[in-house]
Amino acid sequence: MARIHVTTTINGEPMEFLCEPQQSLLDALRNNLGLTGTKEGCGTGDCGACSITFDGRLTCSCLVLAVEAEGHEIGTIEGMAQGETLHPLQRKFLEMAALQCGICTPGVLIAARALLEKNPDPTETEVRFGLAGNLCRCTGYDKIVRAVMETAAEMRETAS
């Protein structure tokens, strides 16, 4: 099968790649572009480990075809920190031990950032529902929810 040429933007950088028509965006990110920070946990959109933003919208990259990235803006975990400066969520996750094995962490961070962009002052329930698409089997979610709420408070403080 002829491979398809895709022109897209990933983490703010213009990017081109060739992919198979049936290839998922997750597969292209990991195997064609070497962006292995985005994880595959299920391949069916149930676990959220492959969470990315697609034109700013939280999306499971396993449910998007790679060819659909044409002309769109993709955000992955590799673009979350600015050089040596971690995103406040990344920093808070480390300080508050909101990860154990870390396999779900990239997806959780992308989902949490998307949540806080829409809702800078979420209640605990809103955080829990905002992250309900991201399975974590290690932490029982407690420290994740606390870290997201703490980050939100800190970001509101900085913004005001």
């Binding site: 292995t36 779900c104 991201n134």
Partner: protein, 758 residues
Amino acid sequence: MNVITPAENKWIGTRTVRPDGADKVTGRAAYAADTTMPGMIWGKVLRSPHAHAVIKSIDTSKAEALPGVKAMVTAKDIVDFPTDKSVMLGIQDMRWMCRNVMAREKALFHGHPIAAVAATTEEIAAEACRLIDVQYEVLPHAIEIEDAIKPDAPILHPFLQHEGKPSNIAGTMVAKLGDIEQGFAEAEVVIERTFRTRPVHQGYIEPHACTVSYAADGRATIWSSSQGQFMVRAMTSLLTGVPQSNIRAIPAEIGGGFGAKTIIYLEPLALLLSKKSGRPVKMVMSRDEVMRATGPTSGSLSTVKIGAKKDGTIVAAQGTFYLQAGCLPGSPIRGPVGCSFAPYAIPHVLSVGYDVVCNRSKVAAYRAPGAPIGAYATECVLDELAEKLGIDPLELRHRNSAKTGMKAAYGATFNQVTFEETIEAIQNHEHYKTPLEKNPRPGIKRGRGVASGFWYNAGGESSAQVNLTEDGNVVVITGHPDVGGSRASIANVTAELLGVEHDRVSVIIGDTASIGFSNLTGGSRVTFASAMVVTQSVEKVIGQLKERAAKIWKIDPEAVIYENGACRPAGPNAGQFPPLALKDLAAKANETGGPIGAGVQLNTQGADPGFATHVVDVEVDVDLGIVRVLRYTAAQDVGRALHPSYVEGQIQGGVVQGIGWALSEEYLYDKQGRLDNANFLDYRMPVCSDVPMIEAVVLEIPNPRHPQGVKGVGEAPIVPPLAAIANAVHDALGRRFYSLPMSPPKVTEVMDLPLAAE
């Protein structure tokens, strides 16, 4: 050994940032599926579509002719371990492992590997699997325990016998104390109930994956995620015939294991495919494959009978535990048989386990293997007993707690029993003292439940190496994959003992060629054991530092002390010298005798068991049958929390896995014996919005046999939740549930029963 008191600590017990943290929040940490190699090709597994079938023939000719196909493996390539002679690696029998990684005589479950293919792309490998022609003779299957142990059950293995007849009961285990008949004769109140649990999966988010390169010199390198690189090396060697000395196993970051990555599935197949093709081979399971073909833990059928005096003194306890092994022997019967009654001082105990094979994937370890099954039955019966005797359920447990120095039915004599302290922690907790409003709204009922749990904990083999760098930093190498923050704990210990800043310590996990043998990350042993070998290594390093300072000062090493990161003269008699810091001595290492570093390898001893007591509040929607956990508090004695956040994390994570087991997780099979819910949508693990905050009450009663006082943490937290939640649901509804999960269909079914028929 001296136990370090909290007052002296700068790093032990603090919430430092984990050494592997930055890589994990930026997506740079390399997990098993993240490795690639030049010239790498892809392996795929063809799996049985049947639950039970004779493999009459396998024709791979069409598949091999497909362009891009490079190699093929079937059972004839795997080392055959005859069924009449056991070959053990740890607790795993190679007779069963060789038949689990590739079906030999028969396909024994829906998903059993039949063949493996390597090809230049994943798509070609998948297409080649479709072109393999397998002729099966489908046999009757047995999925459930009752189906497997009934007299005319389809027999999975002709070589398994029970009571002199071919049977699906592969083995038994007995633990006893006293005389059970006499015990029940003395009892004034006896309660006996039968319970069922369903198989549940460990549910790690990272599917099994590996990359294997078999080079032209006959040496193989394995990158894979596991709970033990030494287990990967040894088991792959046994199953492929490649000598251990020719295999190097490099541990990738592990994306969750919970016990299930203490065995291997793909590594021997990938190694053989690499050997045959001359190319590095990568294999990654899909979620469907993980659910169908890797170990869940057992489903169970348990009967527990407990007898007590009217004053609440328990005099006899009997348990019969049937656990599903899956298709090959080896269910964790040791868990319920040994743990169920262990927290209690009961003079007469009889606990019997049966290992039952059936046409499911072979079970693998899951957090405190088997213990939650036993505690579910035992702790629910105790709840009923407390109700009948009119005694508070925690008071009943407290009154009957085992004591230090007592002998448990499973054989051990307890060095330290801290069960009462966990009960008191819950009794005194604001959660337990605050009354629960039981009827908040129409159609909603609330209830509170308690339960306790026990896990053995373990020591075993560990190795560590501690090296000083030329610029005065510290590198610690251990041999244990880090599943939940063990590097963070080890960094705290090292910084504390050497008196250096935490950020000057790095902790890495060695591969099988760079660190001495270290047993599995499992059994709640790693922080206990690795802190012990790291402590002894650091003590050796401090000895070297003292010698170097003594050499520089030209005094006796005995006259040097090491304090706050520097060598100092022991007293005025030793001489007047300014302190020599670790950094100064590291810089002078070569002129004073060479590099500074030391390693220690031990079979660690002295692990004390873990005790836990939990309280939970639930809310039940009586019309919809939905049970929600409102509040959860878990108390556990951890000995010493080297890094409190990761200790709490173990407790919180274990509890939520227990909530899933109690309320929503189960394997569902169709009539043909095929797994019906092999995905994360239909296999329902708790998501963030399903659970509340989990309060971990961390008790620190130091283990006198560990340098920092550590006890294992990770497993005990999953033991009480099943019963605690069942007891809370009973408190809410006035009905007892004898079967898990308490999912909406089951709750509404029980609610529809007339009360008398319960």
